[in-house]
């Protein structure tokens, strides 16, 4: 359950990160590949080395989608409908990986925001990313 304050906080943070979407996204992905090597299996067809074109573009896509969802969290199911279909029928990424990525995104945010990534912001962000992942997996079965 996200309070009004939390929604505003989340929307504000992602609004600020949109200009550096590819940096944040690529970093989160790289962290995930380093800590959870099994996640690399979904990227065997791409070059995911440090700041490669594929990694940057992919990171950007993910962050922009997260930022878009953050603009109106009550509409997540509507906003994510096309991505739901993509993930369910084409990508078929095991949803446990969404948790791993979310964790690495939180670590990335902590590294970038330092003290500003307060426990309250962390809690709100964790809740949002969990909700985002849950909606993303809705069409799986």
């Amino acid at each position: 359950m996200l309070s009004k304050k939390e929604r505003e906080l989340i929307s504000e943070i992602w609004g600020r990160l949109t200009p550096v979407a590819e940096d944040i996204g690529a970093e989160a992905l790289l962290r995930m590949f380093a800590s959870f090597p099994g996640t690399k299996t979904y990227f065997s067809h791409l070059d995911i080395s440090f700041r490669s074109a594929h990694l940057l573009s992919h990171g950007k896509k993910i962050v922009l989608a997260i930022a878009e969802g953050a603009k109106d969290i009550s509409q997540l199911t509507v906003t994510l409908a096309p991505l739901q279909t993509l993930h369910a029928y084409q990508l078929r990424i095991d949803p446990t990986n969404f948790k791993l990525f979310s964790h690495c995104m939180l670590v990335t945010l902590a590294c970038h925001m330092g003290e500003d990534f307060t426990p309250t912001a962390h809690a709100a962000m964790d809740k949002y990313l969990s909700a985002f992942a849950a909606v993303l997996a809705e069409k799986y079965r």
Binding site: R31, S35, V107, A110, C111, T118, P119, H122
Partner: protein, 147 residues
């Protein structure tokens, strides 16, 4: 037996040498109680845990956070036998404190994030991986004596 690379050993020693236990311990525990409020169930006698500000300012939380970090120290000093190092603590958490071992992972994640916030860019993906591997071994050892 857990295999540690030279990089992992050096990273763990290095990170724990850099962090201030009196700051990181309290911050990690407070964060856990805020982000995962159900963990407050184990701290009924800690007084005011009503909101984030109360938790962050609570002296009992701070003191306990420091205790936890010093507990982690044992693992840092005994990386080749964390399992036995924590046998007694595992029994304590199971038999006396009755803590659901899933909670250990929650605290470990919060600790990772506190250290990341402190170290900023220096907390690279490789260092994060080593740190998380270390905490995973700690978490597993703490859960080992449950039955």
């Amino acid at each position: 037996m857990v295999e540690w690379t030279d990089f992992e050993r050096a990273t763990i020693k290095d990170v724990f040498a850099k962090i201030e236990y009196e700051v990181v311990g309290p911050a990690a525990l407070a964060r856990c109680l805020v982000v995962y409020p159900w963990t407050q169930r184990y701290f009924g006698n800690f007084g005011n845990l009503y909101n984030a500000a109360a938790i962050t300012g609570n002296p009992k939380v701070a003191k306990h956070g420091i205790t936890i970090l010093h507990g982690l120290d044992k693992a840092v000093k005994n990386m080749d036998d964390i399992r036995n190092t924590y046998a007694e603590l595992s029994v304590l958490h199971s038999e006396k404190l009755h803590v659901d071992p899933d909670n250990f992972k929650l605290l470990a994640d919060c600790l990772t994030i506190v250290v990341a916030a402190q170290m900023g860019k220096a907390f690279t993906g490789e260092i994060q991986a080593a740190f998380q591997k270390f905490l995973a071994v700690v978490v597993s050892s703490l859960g080992r004596q449950y039955h």
